[in-house]
Amino acid sequence: MKRLITTTLQCSALIALSVHSNSSASAGLMPDLALQGAFEGRQFLQEAQFPQQKDSVLSVWAEPELVWEWGETQRLTFKPFYRYDSADDERSHGDIRELMWLTYGYSWEVRAGIGKVFWGVTESLHLVDVINQTDLVEAPDGEEKLGQPMVHATWLHDVGTLEAFILPGFRERTFAGENGRLRSALRVSADGEYQSAEEKEHLDWALRWSRSFELGESPLDLSAAWFQGTARDPFLTPQITLTGSGPQITGLTPYYPLQRQLGITAQATVDAWLWKLEVLRRDYDEHMVDNLKALGVAGVQDHSAAVGGFEYTLVGPFAERWDSALDVGLLLEYQYDQRGNDAAMAQNDVFAATRLAFNDADSSEILAGITQDLDYSGSRGIMLEASTRLTDFTTLKVNGWIFMADDNDDALAYSLRQDDYIELSLNIFY
């Protein structure tokens, strides 16, 4: 009760202050508040590989967003996130997705705080996207990201858009816990190891240039980015424990090396075609490579990788025959990694998908696709994402994954082979 009164008083004070500082319509200390959250049920369709794992999982998450604005060109955004998961303690987790101050002028922007930045053009893989760590417990596609501390400056120049990033404070990737599905047989430790003696405090940085050109009548978007610092993708090193019967591998430890990375993207937009390409070159320090190789960790080498393909949209193909506003998108992408099939997931794979946009009042949409490994013919992933609006403040989503693998050599895919699932999600917006 006392707390409520205090809060009420604080609110009143804030309102009073905001009235006094009411220099323009948007100014004030009272934030603009939005809230979204979801109730999710996941049903795994096969028997779990490990006895602690559950077949049915309930999960709930919330993500409020508070925005304060001063005048026309200053803003503070605060977006915390929390998920509770009925099965996996590691998936029950919180994060500050955003706590970002933004100011801008005619040809520049400066952001400071915690936030998210997306780089890339392709759909099946985000090769060059390196600023944020993946919040892997959220979804197996790696689309969810953890908030990254940064100072981010943008300059709109004649030569293109120039961006600089200073990235203090490293975020470790999240991995499923003992009771969670979608994990390897050996548990991945929550505590990572680092090449840098400064560990999480190593100061990473990045520079990026992007620009649109004209290719005939069609736009060609190019970007190039340099990143230097601690890798977001860890190598998994074996934890060796001495037991009565000798040394045994009892778990995996994420090892975050230092890396230098050049990422290039290109997209050409021609009529109904989007042609997309991402190319990556990543280098490590030689002594680190030697050390990890000595431990038997696969795939530790300087390497190049690429993903490229197209999205082609058929606009209203059924409009005349069935009076349907449905648009059909066809996606095809090829994934390449120089390290080959003993080190990389997306080393010689083809992704094919279709995107159905119903163009109805409820914005209904379906994306269904398959990723087929061309080296391991038995390894493939099939995904489905469908969504529709139920009311002005609720949407319904269905996500499903089928993982197939028959060869133990394709270790990561093989570890997921019993984890096909379907997920129903009721999303609420306020």
Binding site: G115, V117, L156, D271, G316, A357, D362
Partner: protein, 273 residues
């Protein structure tokens, strides 16, 4: 990922089919085809000419979708527009409701000599996606408006033919046929009613690829801004083939709000709010 597809649109609604001007004398008696084409173009030029110099504007709009059973669905959008000299205009649409698309932004560059350019900003992913220009005939936010209905009115986009003078709802109008020059247009022709006094669009009929009447757009509640520019507050699009309709209602429209080219840039789309 994909909150909703590559289809959201909108745009420079400010200039579109809404314009005015004085015109040449109505056709007296029969005119040849050549004359009809010349006269149609002259009216269109006049209409465009009279709307030059509006600069920039910001509007708040409600879009009401109604299906054939009368069920309604409402969207709240804000539209920022920038006039571009010697090319099509730029438009930025920001979605406020429904809540699941709040913060989504759609950027459109209309062009005269090449396809329009469009980008969508998805706030959950912090991702700016370029949209293929081909789908101009696709629906805007599930409504009966297509992308191309909301693109700015440019002379290069049509060939014109003057048809007749006719009184529509008590207003004397020129009736002009517009045939889209773009092969990707969803229409074979449009018939436009422009009042002879101000050359403001009063009604447009859209004919589909089978040359059947598809939709009728009606304009009402015209207001005069900056003593020169007429804008209709209410646009009603009725689809005759599926029985659906969409009403686009402008609740607030301001000109000269200080918008510049930098506010219409895919590189700054992520700060839009």
């Amino acid at each position: 990922m994909n909150i909703f597809l590559s289809l959201i649109t909108a745009l420079t609604l400010a200039t579109p089919l809404v314009a005015q001007a004085d015109t040449t004398q109505p056709a007296a008696g029969s005119t040849g085809q050549q004359n009809a084409a010349e006269k149609g173009l002259a009216i269109a030029k006049d209409r465009k000419q009279r709307d030059l110099g509006w600069g920039n504007s910001e509007a708040r709009m409600t879009m009401t979708l109604r299906n054939s059973q009368g069920e309604e669905s409402v969207r709240e959008i804000r539209l920022k527009s920038l006039e571009v000299v010697d090319d099509g205009d730029k438009g930025l649409t920001i979605f406020d409701e429904p809540r699941d698309v709040k913060g989504t932004a759609f950027l459109n560059f209309s062009h005269t000599g090449k396809p329009d350019e469009q980008w969508l900003y998805l706030p959950a992913l912090k991702r700016v996606k370029r949209i293929a220009s081909r789908n101009k005939s696709g629906p805007f936010m599930g409504s009966e408006f297509a992308y191309e209905d909301m693109s700015s009115f440019e002379l290069e986009k049509y060939s014109f033919t003057y048809l007749r003078e006719e009184t529509l709802n008590g207003v004397v109008c020129h009736v002009v046929e517009q045939i889209p020059t773009d092969e990707f247009s969803g229409y074979t022709k449009q018939i436009v009613w422009l009042d002879t006094e101000h050359l403001r669009a009063q009604q447009v009929e859209f004919y589909d690829r089978k040359k059947s009447l598809l939709k009728t757009l009606s304009f009402s509640d015209y207001k005069l801004y900056k003593d020169k520019f007429w804008r209709a507050d209410v646009l009603t699009m009725v689809n005759h083939q599926n029985g659906k309709s969409t009403v686009l209602n402008t609740s607030e429209l301001r000109f000269d709000t200080g918008l510049t080219d930098a506010d219409f840039n895919d590189a700054t789309l992520s700060r839009v709010r």
